[in-house]
Symmetry: C2
Subunit: 646 residues, 2 copies
């Protein structure tokens, strides 16, 4: 990731401007000396630059196409799929435009909101499709403005299918994709990267293949940056198309659209829609096995792999675009067999980055949302700029408010019945709650034989890193120190460490030990006595739902708890314990007891009252051991506390 | 330094404003999230707050008065004295106003410029005296505006001695110090802390002691923040005065002015000026020994110590103000015997901080000026704000230019003859230059028997830290790697380490190894080959006087080479190797060859031509070993280079 090339620049004055035009300078805000140290070049490039850089470096890449889901539940699942398939390293994903599904609206299932989620919450480079026929200029401009506001930077400009049989071109209207391309360039200048569709067999409505090529050239010359093609069945179809494009002067990237056949019916439907003809040799294989889904999928994978290999081997193709039909298995399989599915365990930063352009410089966050990054992104989405280099004093007026925290896909992925099985159909006291926490930590089944795979504060099973602390966590949870967040201390591990590493290679990462938990006021009273012995070494914040807050943080300053030292860079300190935002987190953390747990039970039921009691009376505590080179003392603090109580 | 008090604050919204009013918030710039982590509370308080905090904490303190020197040479010496006496920890120093010496001018010896130097270049809290009689309102306002512009925050408001015998009060003029106090408050509101003079025996011109107390009360009620008294000879004189002040409602701090008798003549002169009478018991001691300076000084020290003890023991006195007469020995002796001279080896940051209010947040600088901090401060004095938290990309337009580097007290402290003895009356080749560098490093006398105690790039002998590298530095200098700056790698030493520590206690400090040197183009050619082997591990910048620049710095980003981790704080990274400012440093570093060395010799002389040759042909190189936890590889790099050459 580090630019190792040796470059020569001339005397002082010109080197100043040299610096100004290098990619590093893009990251520096004009009005501030704090600029991001560009740990991750990817984060600072537009899609067309990424494409060019990959091509120059000889890296092969892939991208994934999805359509918007029909229901909110399906949306929650699709977003999980984005996270899983995003792990394979797609250069981008794209989301189709469903004119019938109110695509530009704020609905959880709209094209706009799904693309927004992919960019902002899943950190994926995303192209939003947009069609233009049967729409007014104002509608389209409105959609584009909204897309820009949400942080979308790429548009696939399409004509779309005319509604009704008797469609006629409108004078000065949007009759073709080229009109949309021109409109985007007119109204938004160079802001968006624009993609257009190519038809390897010619558009079904075009007068001829040649006429269609000329239309494509028009789209490119009107400002499109690259082309994605319609699906095709034979590699030579694409290669011929590409040569024909080049012959008439189309020089931008052309990305083949790959459709792994996944089933008999979906193939038939797609073929019908796209007015393509399935070659006889494929029909010959499929017809006999048309009722055997697994066999067809295997065949589809084989076929796609061999076609992709041929395309890549031609030397003309650098990236492959997959029509996933929102499915995971076949595409992932093809990508893995091609060797271009690249699960990179390295993380640019120790938390999930967002791809919103405003957040390009963001490189520090409070630790509290470690298990709820989407909530943090949501709550800070209206911030005009993001802290980088240093968190600073968040009580400064420049700091955005951490706004309300609700969002549909922050709902638990599991239905009520499952949650009840995990967290208890009936609670008999605070101890039953301790048990749930303990089972979540250990991974052991609870007394009814169910594993606790999520908690209101953690939608996923324990992080690998937390596993390092498992034994101690188990011990303290059993005794009513209900942990919801923790990290071990790290004194200079390589940045490539598979568990705690992040950032470019050649660096060293560090952490201060951190522990965050709910606990009773009796324990807090004892804890505070014990903490006096650890003054200076341990910083603490202790708060209850009413906001009573006890801390020894100097001047309410943030405490850096994760940092990294890299070759040729300034220090990166991506995670802090910030006293001010802790109080916003407190509201969210306490509310989750009620919203996610208590409400599973009937009002006035004993189970519900137990959770309500905890909500009303427990404290939320966080502890930082500042002495990161020594053995973590937080377990001793807890041990001392229990001893004092006995 | 860390605020350990446990404080309770209420719910989120109010804690936000709590934070806003805490001392921490003062440091955060309204328009940026980067705020200084307040490593050093002192840096963020005004003088009256410091006084109050010391008094509340029961700390005794002292302050020192100086008068402006008559010649530029005397100014250079006085500034060295500021540095030495500043090391004892005065709460402030003050500089008297010499109406006859053009006190508000830009002369090197003016009161204004001496006070400016103390604040900006010596980092001392400073009070500038100002007198008002025989001056116009516009003159006075002009002086105050200039003082403010220069970063002075404290004024001692005095009437001054009227010029000529026949002085008469002017209607609406400045007839008394109180008029000046009112004027400052009218025109500058609360910007300045104001000090006024108190006369324990009453002002010689006052109608009576009581009338003089009433005048003093007027000055305080007009806006003065504290009082410094005229000298006196008996502790009871001061204690009575203080009680009388309190009795009439003066509640601000009153600081006794202490005058250690240092000689017969200076005492007589001062007594004449101040119209005071020396008590008989003192005269009785002094008269018999009036020709024995040492005996008088010893007596003066005894007398001062016993008087100060009595004052401090009274419980009414928290600070002592010393009239030094620009001398060092007697005052230092008194302070040491009182136990309030506190040489604190701890440094808030690893470089000399400035006390200019604009620089309060400054906590990162390029490493290049490590031995020339006054030059760096001078070159950046016009910057509107200072980097903190991160250096960032200094090619950003927000960055101030590093302006020209000349300043009178950046001249070498040694006269030409001494420099010639150290650096050679006659050079016979580049090797004679290697020898000078080597002698500076080893501390051994040169071939003519003179020690080399300074170099054009280092006005002082080697830093203790550099001593750690002495053997290796000697070896490479002998062979033409002419080192001017270096630091060892440090992997987490306690912040209280006497050699490399800085910042509050309880922290850990780190460094990357750094080496900066001039060398010939032959060596550079070999070095570049060797460096290929060390890619990623070693960052380098190599530049000649014409600005030809070779580097492997990623995107011209700065490399943090000193950082510290402290309890409850964000990371501090006070020193960086910045590629852009290196080119400004290069101009200064090359110019020093000519300005300080070549010009010692006659034009066209062989010695001068040797230095000129080096200036024209050598390269300035800096190397950073990024792998701070491993053994410093830079010596190996140099070793490999020599091997390649052989």
């Amino acid at each position: 990731m580090v630019n190792e090339t040796q470059h020569t620049c001339s005397a002082s004055s010109s080197s100043r401007s040299d610096g100004g035009s290098s990619s590093g300078s893009e990251s520096s805000k004009d009005n501030s000396r704090c600029s991001t140290p560009v740990l991750d070049t990817d984060r600072h490039e537009r899609l067309r630059e990424k494409m060019r850089r990959r091509q120059d470096a000889g890296d092969k890449w892939f991208s994934l196409e999805f359509f918007p889901p029909r229901t909110a539940n399906a949306a929650v699942n699709l977003i999980s799929r984005f996270d899983r398939m995003g792990a394979g390293g797609p250069l981008f994903i794209d989301v189709t435009w469903h004119p019938a599904g109110d695509p530009g609206s704020d609905k959880e299932t709209s094209s706009m909101i799904i693309a927004n989620t992919a960019v902002n919450y899943c950190g994926l480079e995303t192209i939003l499709h947009m069609t233009c026929c049967n729409q007014t200029k104002d509608d389209i401009t409105g959609h584009l403005q909204k897309a820009k506001r949400l942080g979308l930077k790429n548009i696939m400009a399409l004509r779309g299918d005319p509604a009704g049989e008797e469609w006629e071109e409108e004078v000065d209207g949007f009759n073709h994709a080229v009109d949309l391309v021109k409109h985007i360039r007119n109204e938004f200048d160079d802001y968006f990267d624009i993609c257009v569709a190519g038809y390897p067999k010619g558009h079904p409505e075009a007068e001829s293949y040649e006429a269609d090529l000329r239309h494509l050239k028009e789209k490119v010359f009107a400002g499109a940056d690259f082309i994605i093609t319609q699906l095709f069945f034979r590699p030579e179809t694409f290669l011929k198309f590409m040569k024909d494009c080049q012959a008439i002067g189309i020089t931008c990237p052309i990305i083949p659209g790959i459709f792994p056949i996944q089933g008999y019916h979906s193939l038939r439907q797609l073929v019908k829609l796209s007015k393509l003809e399935v070659p006889q040799e494929i029909k010959d294989v499929i017809e006999p096995i048309k009722d055997n889904d697994a066999a067809i999928r295997n065949y589809g994978v084989e076929l796609a792999v061999s076609m992709c290999r041929e395309l890549l081997d031609s030397g003309m193709v650098h990236g492959l675009h997959f029509y996933t039909l929102n499915r995971e298995v076949a595409t992932t399989e093809v990508l893995k067999r091609l060797g271009i599915w690249k699960e990179d365990p390295r993380r640019p930063l120790p938390w999930a980055v967002s791809a919103h352009p405003k957040r390009r410089v963001e490189d520090v966050r409070p630790i509290f949302w470690a298990s709820r990054p989407k909530s943090y992104i949501y709550r800070t989405q209206e911030w005009d700029d993001f802290p980088n280099g240093r968190w600073g004093n968040s009580s400064s007026p420049a700091f955005g408010e951490l706004k309300d925290y609700y969002l549909f896909y922050l709902k638990s992925k599991s239905p009520r019945e499952e949650l009840l099985k995990m967290w208890g159909e009936e609670l008999t006291g605070e101890e039953s709650v301790f048990e749930v926490f303990t089972c979540y930590i250990t991974g052991e089944p609870n007394r009814n034989g169910y594993k606790v795979t999520c908690m209101p504060w953690n939608d996923d099973p324990l992080a690998t890193e937390t596993n390092l602390l498992k034994d101690q966590l188990e011990k303290v949870n059993r005794r009513g120190i209900l942990t919801i967040n923790s990290q071990p201390n790290i004194n200079g591990k390589p940045s490539t460490d598979p568990i705690v590493g992040w950032g470019p290679s050649g660096g060293y990462v560090f952490q201060k030990a951190y522990l965050e938990f709910f606990t009773s006021s009796e324990i807090v009273t004892a804890l505070l006595k014990v903490l006096k012995k650890y003054e200076l070494r341990v910083n603490y914040h202790i708060v209850n739902v009413k906001g009573q807050n006890i801390t020894n943080a100097p001047d309410l300053q943030p405490n850096a708890v994760t940092w990294g030292i890299f070759p040729g860079r300034e220090i990166i300190q991506p995670t802090v314990v910030d006293p001010v935002s802790f109080l916003s987190w407190k509201d969210e953390a306490f509310a989750l007891w009620i919203e996610q747990w208590a409400k599973l039970y009937e009002e006035e039921s004993p189970s519900r009252m137990i959770i309500q009691y905890i909500h009303d009376n427990y404290y939320l505590v966080n502890l930082v051991d500042n002495d990161f080179p020594l053995e973590n003392c937080l377990w001793q603090v807890v041990e001392d506390t229990f001893e004092l109580l006995n």
